[in-house]
Symmetry: C2
Subunit: 241 residues, 2 copies
Amino acid sequence: MASRTRPAQRRTEALSRERIVEAAVELLDAAGEGGLTVRALTQRLATGPGTIYWHVGNRGGLLDAATDAVVAAALATEPAGAPGTPQDEIRAIALGLFDAIAGHPWLATQLATQLSRSPWGLVTPRIFESIGRRVRALGVPEGDWFTAASALVHYILGAAGQNAANARVLASDADRAEFLDAASRAWEELDPDDYPFTRAVANQVREHDDREQFLAGIDLILTGVTTLHPPTGQAPAPPAT
Amino acid sequence: MASRTRPAQRRTEALSRERIVEAAVELLDAAGEGGLTVRALTQRLATGPGTIYWHVGNRGGLLDAATDAVVAAALATEPAGAPGTPQDEIRAIALGLFDAIAGHPWLATQLATQLSRSPWGLVTPRIFESIGRRVRALGVPEGDWFTAASALVHYILGAAGQNAANARVLASDADRAEFLDAASRAWEELDPDDYPFTRAVANQVREHDDREQFLAGIDLILTGVTTLHPPTGQAPAPPAT
DNA sequence: ACCTGAACACCGTTCAAGT
DNA sequence: ACCTGAACACCGTTCAAGT
């Protein structure tokens, strides 16, 4: 029996950047952005602050890495076997991001921060490419690719971010109903002179389904794209006046 | 030595919540979210931390108040005398928010944070109402008001937020050209196998105009809305198959 | 190369005390 | 009612020192 005597070591593997990012995501999921502190991380990983700073530059870099890791995972599940129409694939990708933000609500703020800081980070091209390929498959003329893909990505990130709060409470259906009821009631109590429209749609808030509503917005943009930027060779419809 | 950076002059008026929020916006504009510290505020207002906490609850509340103040100001300029078509008014409101975020880049992150936290804060109804009235004026059937207005608001906030970085450097045309050139070049250098679409549109990035692009997205949604939710009495177009 | 932990500068917030 | 400033707990980050 040639069993190697394993030296008693604290951790079985050396700490890695991946392991640290993984722990960061766990902390963020558990307690939001405020939950990610270097000290909480050192405790969870049984190490000192110096180790964190040796592997990842600083807290900001860690936040960026966590964001990229979660987005990459969400987009990785996209080629779901059977390819559908470009529209179907866009809906699937969009829902994947929507659900990722629902599962990691801190993503909403973090994506806004990261994207507003520099559009050529890691995250933007990833999302842009994924949507863009389907825009191309739609037959949109090349000159309109950037406009069409941008509109979709902007909408997806904007809508998903603003639904993060709803989704967080989605756990129980009763909680969700209570949440929507409270939201609806708050809107019904607004000043009738200042907020006639918002009051009028308050009951639609109570009954709506986040994901359906989100997809309805996607369909509005897709309809606009195929109407204003039809495949080359087909005449564009006259602008609605 | 009696030299001070600030004249040891006593304030003429008592501090007010409005004055504090105003100073907070100045600090945010000057140095981003990190620039707003209670200590920087006490120095600028020549007071102690207790005063800040007496007038506004805490730093979070101050951030919310600053966000609401800037958004309210942006929406207040909307009734620009001559009323146009609902489409024109939606474009004008959207551009107002776009420019507000461009002038106060910290708004992007702050809006995402505030909206993802609770959709029934102050800011959401303000924006929603402003857009919603024009959706109604468009003749959209009442059952589709919420969907149409939501799509527009989600897009506006998403797109404006993601353009905050570009806008920040918009000061000089030369700086802007350099910025877009760097962005375009970064995309051209992506892996050809992983990012064919993104590389293909890289040169459109260099030439695009933020505001035009933003409005093009608005028009895509408006086209979708008038196509899928035409005024009652007109038959909706068949879904694209 | 990787890790440790004390130390530093800074932060949000509280509160007894003043006017 | 409004303001002051010391004090507290906590934070991100650094760095000389260890293996």
